[in-house]
């Protein structure tokens, strides 16, 4: 029955959005993590979404999956601050390339998408319950 597939599809959407929320949380919490070298500095992470097409009982089901998490290649913020305990020999500290405002917008978008998937599961559940109770009472 097709309605069972809806749970898989919306569920895959929910798990993908959860990964997105996780990376956003990680980015925001590390937004001010300074370091004394370019290599050690935290870089903003973002998930890459892709459509999954798998056969289920002879029918194509299109869900979503996280292909991977990529690190942003945007330049790091470099600040001259010789008094900072983390500064390197030239007196520079390095800040992550996280744009907090962008991350906030990303978080809102992810939570709205998650909500939408929850609504879909709820509606499908109601429809299925109603189908099971056909002709009853």
């Amino acid at each position: 029955m097709s309605l069972f597939n809806v749970f898989d599809i919306a569920g895959s959407g929910m798990s993908a959005q959860t990964v997105r929320l996780n990376t956003t949380a990680s980015n925001i919490s590390n937004a001010d993590t300074v370091s004394s070298s370019v290599d050690q500095t935290y870089r903003a992470r973002h998930p890459v979404f892709a459509t999954t097409m798998h056969e289920q009982m002879g029918q194509a089901v299109a869900g979503v999956e996280v292909k991977g998490v990529v690190e942003s290649s945007a330049p790091l913020k470099q600040q001259y601050n010789p008094d900072h305990p983390m500064s390197d020999e030239n007196g520079y500290v390095y800040y992550p390339n996280v744009n907090v405002i962008e991350e906030m917008a990303n978080m809102m978008s992810a939570s709205r998408s998650y909500e939408t998937n929850v609504q879909i599961i709820n509606t499908s559940k109601q429809l299925m319950t109603q189908t099971l109770q056909l002709g009853g009472n």
Partner: protein, 134 residues
């Protein structure tokens, strides 16, 4: 008077099948609302229902007479053509899902699904009444 049980449910039997298929299609669109390059899909419900009931000789009556002929995809006993929706405002990453439009379609589809289920429910209740002779 004989009651034909085949005809009791009318078009609602096929309608419910197609409605749940459409729910699945729209759910896939919404789940992929943020996937780059995903193309939103849907199908013409009215056409699919007409084909499922054999009202017009198009999809359901299409026959394969040569090995190279294309067949319409079978979706659990009902045949219809999947189509790609035309985006009002395509996004730069190639995704054509319009989340608001999809949500509206989903709500409309579930209301219609519910209507069909209510019709089926009432028909069954009617039959039960007849059998019990109340």
């Amino acid at each position: 008077m004989a009651i034909s049980l085949d005809g009791v449910f009318g078009l609602h039997e096929q309608a419910v099948k197609l409605r749940s298929k459409r729910t699945e299609t729209i759910a896939a669109n919404i789940a992929n609302a943020d996937t780059p390059g995903y193309k939103a899909r849907d199908f013409d419900f009215q056409q699919a229902l007409a084909d499922a009931r054999g009202d017009n000789a198009s999809l359901s009556q299409m026959k394969v007479t040569q090995p190279g002929h294309m067949t319409t995809s079978d979706h659990g006993g009902v045949a219809f053509e999947m189509m790609y929706s035309t985006p009002l405002q395509p996004s730069i990453d190639g995704n054509t899902v319009d989340l608001h439009r999809e949500k509206a379609k989903f709500t409309e589809n579930s209301m219609q699904h519910q209507a069909s289920l209510t019709f089926l429910d009432k028909k069954l209740q009617g039959l039960v009444k007849v059998i019990r002779g109340e």
